[in-house]
Subunit: 497 residues, 2 copies
Amino acid sequence: MSHTIKKIAAIGGGVIGGGWIARFILNGYDVSIFDPHPQAKRIIGEVLDGAERAYGKLFQAPPCKKGKLIFCDSLAEAVADADYIQESVPERLELKTGIYAQIEAHARPDALIGSSTSGFKPSQLQEGLAHPERVFVAHPFNPVYLLPLVEIVPSDVSDKAMIENARAFLEEVGMKALVVRKEIDAHIADRLLEAVWREGLWLINDGIATTEEIDDAIRYGFGLRWAQMGLFETYRVAGGEAGMRHFMAQFGPALKWPWTKLMDVPELTDELIDTIASQSDAQSGHMSVRELERARDDNLVGILLALKGNDWGAGALVAEMDKRFYEKAHDGVRTEEGALDFAKPLDLHTARVAPDWTDYNGHMTEHRYLQVFGDATDAFLALIGMDKAYLAGGHSVYTVETYIRYLDDVPAGTDLRLRTQMLGCDEKRLRICHEMLSGEDDHVVATAEHMLLHVDTNASRACPFGSPLKEKLGAMKDAQMALPVPDHAGKGIRVIG
Amino acid sequence: MSHTIKKIAAIGGGVIGGGWIARFILNGYDVSIFDPHPQAKRIIGEVLDGAERAYGKLFQAPPCKKGKLIFCDSLAEAVADADYIQESVPERLELKTGIYAQIEAHARPDALIGSSTSGFKPSQLQEGLAHPERVFVAHPFNPVYLLPLVEIVPSDVSDKAMIENARAFLEEVGMKALVVRKEIDAHIADRLLEAVWREGLWLINDGIATTEEIDDAIRYGFGLRWAQMGLFETYRVAGGEAGMRHFMAQFGPALKWPWTKLMDVPELTDELIDTIASQSDAQSGHMSVRELERARDDNLVGILLALKGNDWGAGALVAEMDKRFYEKAHDGVRTEEGALDFAKPLDLHTARVAPDWTDYNGHMTEHRYLQVFGDATDAFLALIGMDKAYLAGGHSVYTVETYIRYLDDVPAGTDLRLRTQMLGCDEKRLRICHEMLSGEDDHVVATAEHMLLHVDTNASRACPFGSPLKEKLGAMKDAQMALPVPDHAGKGIRVIG
């Protein structure tokens, strides 16, 4: 890393400025902030809280030591000893140029100055400055602490080494720096956004769609694709084996169709098609269309599962589908108390090994065994009546001991069936075991034994089972305990060496 | 569900038709397909393979019984007894109307007919038909088996009950049905896509950006947002506490700015602003801006983690950040062999309880304990020299038994420290235990004991430790075994009841 940036100044701490501050501070950098808004402290504090919450979920590593946030009474104080200055004031050119004149009066002449402007060109911001060469656009996307893109736009007078230094620094705080080769109004991303915004306004204006319908058209459809591949790589894959040139031939004519008639569109000359096809080769040619398809599908599956975890948008639909598939799979499986024969081990759960459950050996990793056993334990607890109401009443059942034996490898995609047996219970304790079965021969791939304790969750201590758990356990106890005890139960790990 | 659709016909089996077929079949529906393309069987088979692979990852439920795929020699045969017909032939109007005439000649008059067209209006497809009322647009998005959006577009002559029936059916196969209120060229989503496509072509034509740069501007930025919220909800959140009307006032003027000068843009009248603000209230008003922000951040975190799992795009950047944070956290932690004192238990791993590691009790769920213990075991194995080269040589170490005691609740956000001790080893086996510590007083929240077995992974059987594992274990054995054995080791779960 060539940059030696240590101290940062932020001018403006709204949604965007606050997002920058959060990214810098949570990456360990001190930030001096100047924002005359009377509520600036509260607003920045709220953005920071949101960012810390998000980072706590996003990163497994312990957080690094936070940088200091210093509120300054003047712009002069904030920029005085800054190595990097990020300007995020409202989008009015005369306001911004006034700020730049002030920065220049008080900052070191070699301090880098990035602007969050979404529309202005760097040459507009540089006008009239003694050191215009260190001013550039560094345009981020909301929420700045989570979205990695930053468009770095230099002008003709920008200092190449300074731009390179800014790029290295912004990448070091986790961003994807896109250095734009030619300055234009609104850079790259906002031109695309503005195009969609215009079209969206027309659709509403003409009574074709509401804001919600437009949003749904995005987030259930192409928006999912664009989180992982953009416009051109997506179309390259859609073009199939024939590739980008074929796609252009197929969809190029649409530019002449009625819905484009009011627009100024570029002519699809052979030269432009050649440019696009060869740029696409340079971008994606290292992967075959089949490989790209698989990468796309894996990414979409991951995104859908992430949204499923939040019961949101397209992920909520996946959760519903999964529920329907489970219902179909469990048709004919007896789970109601009356239909279960307690004189046999209990079939209460099935699972399938997900592809991301495997480890470097290519088999299901050890904690996923326990996840499946834990789900089977939950199914047993549901059977004896531990439902939401029981939990809400301040009682629960905690696992206090677990003993697992791993007997066979289980690759991704394997269907697993769990067989559960109650080994004993007393006033407060419950001992159960599971066998994990696989294959047409139902061979045992792993076993687990658990000691569970009934607890008063408010007092955090053990207490006797309440109704209906007590009665349900009593009803099955004799039949279950008459079954032979599996040979793996009651054992511990032996001493060796 | 009011629909009684059982048999489906597909006319055309390219990328889109094949995607429809996959979605129908994997939801248990039989499909008759007619496609005269000589390679149709191979192409559809490949799409189906991809879809089955994706569904295997997407759903935890066991797959439902697949529908039958029947290849037909004629269109007449395919549609004869169909309840629902999906047309996905190339985008040429005269080709499509010819197909509709043939369908009408051979299908039941009450069969529903959906078209995959991305551009034509339903009235154009209905022209000249005796039963135009059952023809509508059902426009999906590639890959059809994964992306839920389908735009259902009726015309003025469409039968409302039939449209409702189509909607119910397509939702039953997991789709998000967006019934478009007014037919226009390209419906809704493709108008937005076409706007971005036009702007993208300009950027390339004018030498501003390459296909890769445009794609990066999407997938590292707003594309991530659009997988979960669309244009308007995103801007509502960005507008902050002041809401949608404020956002419009702030960004509306951009429509008059230079980059829009060649475009026909709607005038932002008070009436249009009112319409947008009240539609946005109807869409998102049930959540406060703060709640929307949290939902957005949780979704973005999930999406980023999903992409991190595939080491792709924005997720690959998160992986790099995580690595840097770990490096910072481990600065000063001695992990090199020489610096470790084997006469003490070993400090080899730390972890932090992620928010989604908790269960319905609000504490770390049981299998996440084992995940952290497993990571500590991996750190121990790395210490004794089990690296990628050792694994590539056809040897590994498998866990064969695990005994865990859960001693204390651990809420989300808790920092954990692991203390590891070797309890014994022989030629092929290794016995270790871990204590999981938390808090300033380093109290023990859980313990684990593991028996590990050294294996020849090709032969799938135990074999003696090789170099350097054997030597490294030998070097630490005496010192480690001189330590007192923890009282939890060598125990099993007791018999009760």
